[in-house]
């Protein structure tokens, strides 16, 4: 029997009486499980009590596979749909493998949401610049944290905002996430292109690196901003390609990944030079110090 109340994670400076301990997970139940690819699973989670957490696009949760451990996983759901919390998880380690193996009805520990998320103020109408184009560049499972942003951007587009371009790089056609949904995005006005590293003749899409899609994508680089998520090397190359195209470095946002064991700035594992990624990120503009930091080896 579950005895505790689910309390919203506090964000204030002083913990108040009865506040939940920041390291104590809230129990959620897997209510749906979708196999996305041979290594990626999407879990839909419902809080046992107290309602689901609310989040912003690009934020992440710490998910506990009980008895195995806890990892940071970005939220891939629609922030506004109020439904179960959606996590798209790639099986790359012991905990993610355990999470991917969970069945409907299993219990998952959730802490979060953490991190800053994508900065969408560029589209939401900062001083008349509301018509900026947005270029979303995703590599592999990097599409997962971008999905909430795309959904929010499409809503904004329907209200007359700028173009939404989604460029997706994947290993092979069968590894492309949310395939059916991409057509929905297209019908809602997004320009969606997918390129893969390798394909057989049945693949009618592009073959090549995701950066090769940038040159011919329909956006105005001088009045656009970009959201990029994928392997770090892919993000470095993408950022440079966008710079070459004429986009300002501060308008290129990257979502970074490092080992996170707490999500709240205590454990020190996710440092990248001056940044604690969980606390200061995971989303950073490419301008400022990030370009230099990413170019440093073993930082």
């Amino acid at each position: 029997m579950v005895t505790e109340k689910s309390v919203e994670p506090f964000r204030g400076p002083i913990p108040e009486s009865g506040s939940r301990h920041p390291l104590l997970p809230t129990p959620y139940r897997v209510v749906k499980r979708v196999v996305e690819t041979d290594t990626v699973v999407t879990l839909f989670l419902e809080a046992l009590e107290g309602g689901n957490l609310t989040f912003r696009p690009g934020q992440f949760n710490m998910l506990t596979a009980f008895g195995v451990g806890e990892i940071a996983v970005s939220i891939s759901g629609d922030p506004l749909d109020g439904g179960p919390i959606r996590h798209t998880i790639a099986s790359v380690g012991a905990v993610s493998h355990a999470l991917c193996s969970l069945r409907v009805g299993s219990l998952v520990g959730v802490r979060g949401p953490f991190g800053n998320g994508w900065d969408l103020t560029g589209v939401t109408g900062m001083a008349g610049s509301a018509t900026q184009d947005v270029v979303v560049v995703a590599g592999g499972v990097g599409l997962a944290p971008l999905r909430p942003a795309v959904l929010e951007l499409l809503k904004m587009k329907e209200e007359g905002r700028g173009r939404v371009v989604v460029l997706i790089g994947s290993r092979s056609p069968d590894q492309v996430l949310f395939k059916e949904e991409l057509d929905v995005w297209r019908t809602r006005g997004a320009h969606v292109e997918v390129t893969v590293d390798r394909a057989d003749a049945s693949w009618r899409g592009s073959v090549g690196v995701v950066t090769s899609l940038i040159s011919s994508a329909p956006f105005d680089p001088h009045d656009a901003f970009s959201l990029v998520c994928g392997p770090e090397v892919m993000m470095r190359f993408t950022a440079r390609a966008l710079l070459d195209k004429g986009m300002h470095e501060d308008k290129i946002q990257l979502s970074l990944e490092r080992n996170m064991q707490c999500g709240i700035g205590w454990c020190g594992h996710c440092q990248l030079g001056p940044y604690l990624l969980c606390r200061d990120g995971p989303v950073f503009p490419y301008g400022g110090r990030l370009a230099e930091l990413l170019a440093k080896r073993e930082l």
């Binding site: 290594t39 099986s91 790359v92 493998h97 592999g140 590293d197 057989d200 011919s216």
Partner: protein, 157 residues
């Protein structure tokens, strides 16, 4: 599209954009408009490499035929890019197939014609080589990135 003069047409392709008019006129003499239907071959492995294609619209797949896997697309190139390098170097044989994925519009430049003009005028030759090298460099770097198999760290279990 109305018939634009060929030198104007080729100046609109990123590869040749910004070249002086005299060079454009010179190169236009080697060029003609060639469309391809989806599924047709632009060039075929082993054939004589005599043409250089500037892609104006549609996508082209660079393929190789593997008896085990059938047609394998190693790369696709789209509008603004180019297809075919083997016309530059002896023995002038294509190493891959190139097939139109969509309805493809190209400007076909005669390889022998380009070579002759480049040899005759080193300024033209150098300008052409600089631009071709840049595309080659991009392709080489893209290929290297793909060799990293960046998305391949997921373990199947």
């Amino acid at each position: 599209m109305r018939d634009l003069p060929m030198d104007v047409l080729i100046s609109r392709h990123p590869l040749l954009a910004g070249l002086p008019n005299d060079i454009l006129l010179l190169l236009a003499g080697c060029a003609r408009n060639v469309p391809f239907h989806a599924g047709t071959l632009l060039l075929s492995e082993g054939d004589t490499a005599d043409t250089f294609y500037l892609i104006r619209r549609g996508r082209v797949g660079i393929e190789v035929h593997d008896p085990r896997r059938g047609r394998v697309v190693v790369e696709t190139v789209g509008p603004g890019s180019v297809v075919g390098w083997s016309w530059l170097f002896p023995p002038y044989r294509w190493h891959f197939d190139a097939r139109a994925i969509d309805e493809v519009g190209t400007i076909a430049l005669d390889g022998a014609c380009l070579r002759t003009k480049a040899e005759a005028d080193p300024v033209v030759g150098y300008e052409l080589m600089k631009r071709l090298s840049n595309v080659l460099l991009e392709r080489l770097q893209a290929t290297r990135v793909r060799l990293l198999d960046l998305y391949g760290d997921g373990k199947v279990s």
